[in-house]
């Protein structure tokens, strides 16, 4: 009877906390796959490069140079700011795009940045860029996951429970990372 009671509560908590964890588990797992491959792609931004060909520009004070470039390339938008990394280069910063020009050669490119919708937000939460109270919320989520892992072992009894096939599958799940670490 006592045994039945703890298992009943174990299953109730496993079920309800499992429901609560569904949202974050989806976010964290999708983001996990995305950032796992950061060496191969940019999981947060889509960046496009569009070549620009114009004429060379004579040396001038930077404000004059900016004004000449805007007129020459026919840009109506006012840049948020600008920078000259070297005497040959001029970078103009607009909202979500940058014009990088070699003024001596009259060549360059637009670099256009777009956030990857949904994935950017998922990564923001998963990698805890938000900091502050999200840190504690994520800690709570991790504790719930821990509880789900342990309580999950005791949901079923019999041949499908921990005493049956469960012990073998659990053992495989523990042994695999151990083998990987020791090889």
């Amino acid at each position: 009877m006592k045994n039945l009671k703890w298992r009943k509560w174990n299953n109730i908590l496993h079920r309800d906390l499992g429901y609560l964890a569904v949202g974050l588990t989806i976010i964290y797992s999708i983001s996990g796959i995305a950032v796992n491959h950061v060496e191969d792609w940019n999981p947060n931004y889509k960046i496009r490069h569009i070549p620009v060909k114009t004429t060379f520009f004579d040396e001038a004070p930077v404000q004059v140079l900016v004004s000449k470039v805007l007129t020459k390339i026919n840009i109506a938008e006012k840049p948020e700011s600008y920078f000259r990394p070297s005497p040959q280069e001029l970078h103009l910063f607009f909202k979500n795009k940058t014009l990088k020009l070699n003024i001596a050669q009259g060549t360059g490119e637009w670099e256009i940045v777009e956030k990857r919708p949904i994935l950017y937000e998922f990564n923001y939460l998963h990698l805890n860029h938000a900091k502050k109270w999200w840190t504690y919320f994520a800690d709570l989520y991790a504790l719930i996951l821990l509880f789900l892992a342990i309580s999950g072992l005791f949901v079923l009894k019999g041949k499908n429970g921990l005493a049956g096939r469960g012990k073998w599958l659990t053992a495989i799940g523990i042994i695999l990372p151990v083998i990987f670490l020791s090889v």
Binding site: N42, N44, Y45, I47, S81, F83, F94, K95, N96, L127
Partner: protein, 156 residues
Amino acid sequence: MLKTKWLIILLLLTFGLLSAQNWKTFGKELTLKDTTLISTILANPYAFIGKRVLVEGTVVDVCKKRGCWMELASDKEFQSIRVKVNDGEIVFPLEARGKLALIEGIVEKLEISKEELIKAMKHHAEEQGEPFDSTKITEGKTIYRLKGLAAKIQLD
């Protein structure tokens, strides 16, 4: 009455969200009040090594994949300083490019051999999606940069 209460709460939330998006804090809160010119640091970096400074400038580049560094324009033309942060501790958004920033950090000196520099620049070019020509690097380099601890960036 209830409607008015909700309207006030909504307005306060909207105001909070809007104002929070103006000067956004990254990492810890700034502790220094007085800024040091980037050109002053770069003119005599030895005097600043290991010192905590507050600098101001336009963000001219950001690590595109991890947000783990940014380049801050100096008050002098053709000059900038790299701000490096520990991966994950502070993440600079790409939208910071072109925006004004206040950065607090410690001035560091890095002696990089030719081989290390080629490796680092190759990795940098790959991350930034830029072309890289290793033959342009003929010798090692001494770099002065900031180890970023706290930042405020004037985002939209």
